[in-house]
Symmetry: C2
Subunit: 362 residues, 2 copies
Amino acid sequence: MARVINFSAGPATLPLPVLEYAQKEFLDHEGTGMSLVEHSHRGAAYAEVHAETKSLLRELLDIPETHEVLFMQGGATAQFALVPLNLRAPGESADYVMTGAWSDKALAEAKITGDAREAGTGKVDGKYTRVPKQAELDLDAKAAYVHYTSNNTIMGTQFPYVPDTANAPLVADMSSDILCRPLDVSKFGLIYAGAQKNLGPAGITVLILRKDLAERSPDTLNKIFRYSTILNGDSLQNTIPTFPVYMVRNVLRWVRDQGGAAAMEKRNLEKAGCIYDMIDGATDFFRCPVERDSRSIMNPVFRLPTEELEAKMIAEAADAGMVGIKGHRSVGGIRTSIYNAMEPSDVQKFVDFAKAFAKANG
Amino acid sequence: MARVINFSAGPATLPLPVLEYAQKEFLDHEGTGMSLVEHSHRGAAYAEVHAETKSLLRELLDIPETHEVLFMQGGATAQFALVPLNLRAPGESADYVMTGAWSDKALAEAKITGDAREAGTGKVDGKYTRVPKQAELDLDAKAAYVHYTSNNTIMGTQFPYVPDTANAPLVADMSSDILCRPLDVSKFGLIYAGAQKNLGPAGITVLILRKDLAERSPDTLNKIFRYSTILNGDSLQNTIPTFPVYMVRNVLRWVRDQGGAAAMEKRNLEKAGCIYDMIDGATDFFRCPVERDSRSIMNPVFRLPTEELEAKMIAEAADAGMVGIKGHRSVGGIRTSIYNAMEPSDVQKFVDFAKAFAKANG
């Protein structure tokens, strides 16, 4: 079948050249006579992949020497549990900035093993239609860390700024917008991201950890869950999911070849602008529930006049080869996930389709 | 390059038809116009893969209704931590049968969060050259569970029997020999296995859990680490590594097409017999350090007269297209990992090579 345009929220579309490259050498990784998936995680072939993946992340995000790249398993959800277990000492509390389902889950896991509190919220009239501004944050000066979700895939919100948390280390769940634009990594104590949106397929979690924070990992925590273990073991203390890392490397090579994080930002602003312009240019038919300053450039969401029209649009889009635009089941509506890999020309196709749909059904 | 014969201990060789199948549809999964790795873990395409993988495991291992198949992340090492956290209540102790590095690690993680004790050992003169017999097990009648490693990849040992633990649930790390032969799953409380030996690539852990044991998962444990969460969420409570599961499904289809677990046992006995016959037929040159009844049919290990000869054999084997035969760094020697996917004809090639090597260097 012809390639469809895939607006899924994650796992998500990947660059076609990346898929083609992986397919081509799937049976014979770099002339070694075996597939990458068959190589030992301790052998030379995978060691090169591992080192290059870390090196590309360092280069593309301009990661300072104070920070190290780690790979873990379990996605952001495992980090919801592991961040407090590693970074919060007994008796300490942690701050959570609330922007929807993901921060809700992160806070809930943190509360199971200790103290944690809300330090700001984007909730308005019961809905997370915005992110709080810096001045609205209510920070505990003694917090073990401050946690926030930089982009919310369900509500279609994104922080336009990096929160200033004074002395408390800033921890960010960047699963859905890491590498969507340049970033000042020095502002963060920890960044973590499941790979399956901007970085690759599902199955690996990227962490960027300020190295001194690994000293907080307590002896009472199982070794395999300590950041110190992963840091000291170069993420190879046990068998790493080699294929997901390999795919992340291939995606990062593609990002580099496109021009890096700055080129991604330009591309993403163009794509998101295209969709938001369409919405704002036809407010009699389209409506974006998100406050303008909080709009995501990764997951623009919008509503049509009725749920029936939304269902009709989803069906007609699929017929036209555009899939995955149904909003999350908890909020409904339309969601267009346009991560780094999404081509601007494909977004333009969708916008043309949506405008024609509005004209025919408005 | 021509395909090499890969004796790596894991990640390990996979069936060539499985790799070819995955390669062929890598860009277009079953005519959906996108790669499996791009599909949502909540969409119909992956749902089919998920259900079929579970169903094939049930069929091939004849899993009774009392047990459920779960998928988790983090490999066996994460389970070293999670088994006691889920199955051992405060004040309880757990029993560990010791057979080498993997049970050492499992016991060490268990001791971090509570009481655990050795309940038998295969250690002789400081080395794990055998597995203990049933009569040698020293079981605590009140143990929360009894844990053992069914096959040790480093020492080349394997249990020829399933331990009888009376009322205590039996927990097995079967990472390196699951599905190597038929199994009476009803004897187990929990079986867990990293996929990267007999089941597929690295990145997914298969659990077979007696469902009533999920009730033990305590509220004090983070939700994402509770077996009850995984059981109730059908392993889809968060994003699952879709590609590793897909590859496991493809391997299981291959196992089924070969004749199932019984056919694997026949094939594995033939391969292992071929190697052990070679060793026992030339004891002036080859020496297997493992007691006869404890020999693994997955990872036969042996020594040559000198370490220099071992290094020479490893180098000459590589020149002849046979890789991964170097023993684990902690023990040295030669190790031939011959998991399900290893072709008997390739083992025969190795044996022919090894016999010629013995003749030339003996």
